[in-house]
Symmetry: C2
């Protein structure tokens, strides 16, 4: 099958670029002397996870328990669920451990810790459920401040039967707001220092703290050193997107995912494509890096960038492309997304190519939250 025959809109993954991106991050992990626990929230694919974990210790990060179940079923056992655990999901977490996962969950809440200790004590588990304490390194999303007095008390609550305090985890989400590599390197140091300081406090209070986990693609790319850190958890680096190009995480030529679209209307100043707000997402993040980005830059079917071409507007099923010429209805284009985590989530999987237009595989994704179970 060729990309010219794939029903549109569809997600295309260039395997050769994925390989280059995973090689880059593997080299970074070696350089920084930390384990790489790739975050699968972007790719949501066991096939991609196999590429991203090749040569690594095998642990992964996930953003939903639906992902955790999926990856466990595909042979990935060492899983960190890096979103604060909702009390209503404790039984699901315990079920994953019963089914063979070495699961790490995350909290910063005494109420959740108490509920975890209570539920774990009342169940049979082949191994303890690991718990990480979330630290806020300046992002202002989740986590305790590194110097929060409650930190050691929370650790004490997790010193309970069938639980294991694994360590601390932080995420420098504020690295996405940076304007330069130096600024990102500064945030990376803030991220490292916050996690290492909190870990030191736990150890000083007599707690084990094996895991000191940091990570975002910008900080993993630009950190000068990660002394005292045990692992990093970048995710979007596998594919990249226009926002990451703007942040200097990778060059445009390494963007691995695009949305294949068909031209459905041709006008003097624009063409319409059948990829709109749903197929591309309405994420406008990359627009801050420059004009004429809109909802994505546009390539031809072969993956060559068309200079100046971009999706200027996105309605539900319509993309309005400006800056293209000499196209006819039925012609195909490929859109590089602003924020690939959002874009990919609308699609059931990837049509995999290796540099050209020949589809060599189809790789499914695990989307959503399994609400209908």
């Amino acid at each position: 099958m060729d990309l010219s025959e794939v029903p549109t809109p569809a997600l295309v993954l260039d395997r050769s670029r994925l390989d280059a991106n995973t090689r880059f991050m593997a080299a970074r992990a070696t350089e920084l002397d930390v384990r790489l626990r790739p975050h699968m929230k972007t790719a949501k694919s066991a096939d991609v996870a196999r590429v991203a974990t090749a040569g690594q210790f095998g642990g992964i990060t996930v953003s939903t328990l639906a992902e955790a179940r999926y990856f466990l079923a595909h042979g990935f056992t060492d899983i960190t669920y890096a979103v604060g655990l909702a009390p209503g999901r404790i039984d699901e977490a315990l079920a994953l451990v019963r089914n063979g996962a070495k699961l790490n969950v995350l909290t910063d809440s005494p109420a959740v810790a108490a509920a975890l200790a209570g539920r774990a004590a009342a169940t049979t588990l082949p191994r303890p459920l690991s718990v990480l304490i979330e630290i806020d390194c300046g992002d202002g999303r989740g986590g305790l401040q590194p110097d929060a007095p409650e930190l050691t008390g929370l650790a004490g609550m997790l010193d309970a039967p069938k639980l294991q305090l694994a360590g601390v985890l932080t995420h420098a989400g504020h690295s996405y707001a940076c304007r330069s590599r130096d600024e990102i390197a500064g945030i990376a140091e803030q991220e490292r220092a916050a996690a290492v300081f909190a870990a030191g406090r736990l150890r000083a209070a007599g707690h084990a703290c094996e895991t000191v986990s940091v990570g975002s693609t910008p900080t993993a790319t630009h950190a000068h050193e990660l002394d005292g850190v045990s692992e990093m958890r970048p995710g979007v680096y596998m594919f990249g997107d226009l926002d990451q190009v703007g942040l200097g995480s990778l060059p445009l030529e390494r963007l691995a995912v695009s949305v294949l679209a068909s031209v459905i209307g041709v006008y003097p100043d624009r063409v319409l494509i059948d990829a709109g707000g749903l197929a591309l997402s309405k994420d406008a993040s990359a627009q801050r890096h420059g004009t004429d980005i809109g909802y994505g830059l546009v390539m031809n079917l072969q993956g060559e960038l068309l200079p100046g071409a971009h999706v200027a507007k996105a309605n539900q099923e319509h993309g309005i492309v400006k800056g293209v010429q000499q196209l006819a209805p039925g012609d195909r284009l490929r859109v590089l997304p602003n924020h690939v985590c959002m874009t990919a989530a609308a699609h059931p999987g990837y049509y995999v190519v290796e540099g050209g237009t020949q589809v060599t595989a189809r790789w499914p994704r695990i989307n959503g939250w399994e609400q209908w179970r």
Copy 2:
């Protein structure tokens, strides 16, 4: 089942508000003396379509051929696919006619018309494939200008075996950019006038033009009259969203869809919920109507608005809620979305309530484009 037990994030549909919204639009259709062909692109649900078409002529509008197949399988035969037909989808359209649909497709392109005529002639159909010509009423998305010289030539190309020129269709998408009801009423008149003028030109050239189709929720709500129009195709009115409230399409109290979320973190100035950019969408459209809207206004579990509470930031699986107090992990909130067409698309279906928190039904949705067939 009660909303307090539903796995989060999840989509909640308040049936009593859906009923009020569909009654409102049915009354508008009567008042304006046009047929109502509800656009199912927002709801994507046969259950909702049954409510929206009750008492109407039964025709519906769809935004994908996946929707067309789904609704046909659920007994809806009179279907308008209101997105310009991609040449690569002609065979799918013909298959729908063979399977019993009275399908109307849309184009403004001589190339597509020629391809349609060629493919239709070469196949056996129980009835002709209806074709509508798309007219641009000022939105600048798709369609011929109402006075375009090519209009009658295109109509002539559609006067072909097994095709039937059904009429003209236009969509005033630019009504979404309006700032007042009067301005929307002005766009509604522009929409009406464009479609009626184009229809008049076709009739003067000897073509039948049974269908004169207009529609958007803002223009359907605020139009003064629709003389010469045969049908309207609003869609988002069934649920409403914060953008439509800002546009004056309905009051906040009639918003029928919300995203149920659990609190996963509590901090002095914010709480975290497990509904982020994927569960809510990154559509920021309603933000232009006021401050403190963010990615949605926040209600309690019972559906009562919490004054000042809103999702200030949305990461992939995290929503940062500001303006709430006295919450604990595990508490539940409901978020009113900016743009419900985008938000709903991330979810497999609706947990239906009737004013309270008791779930009375689950209604599935038809998402995506069936790329994996």
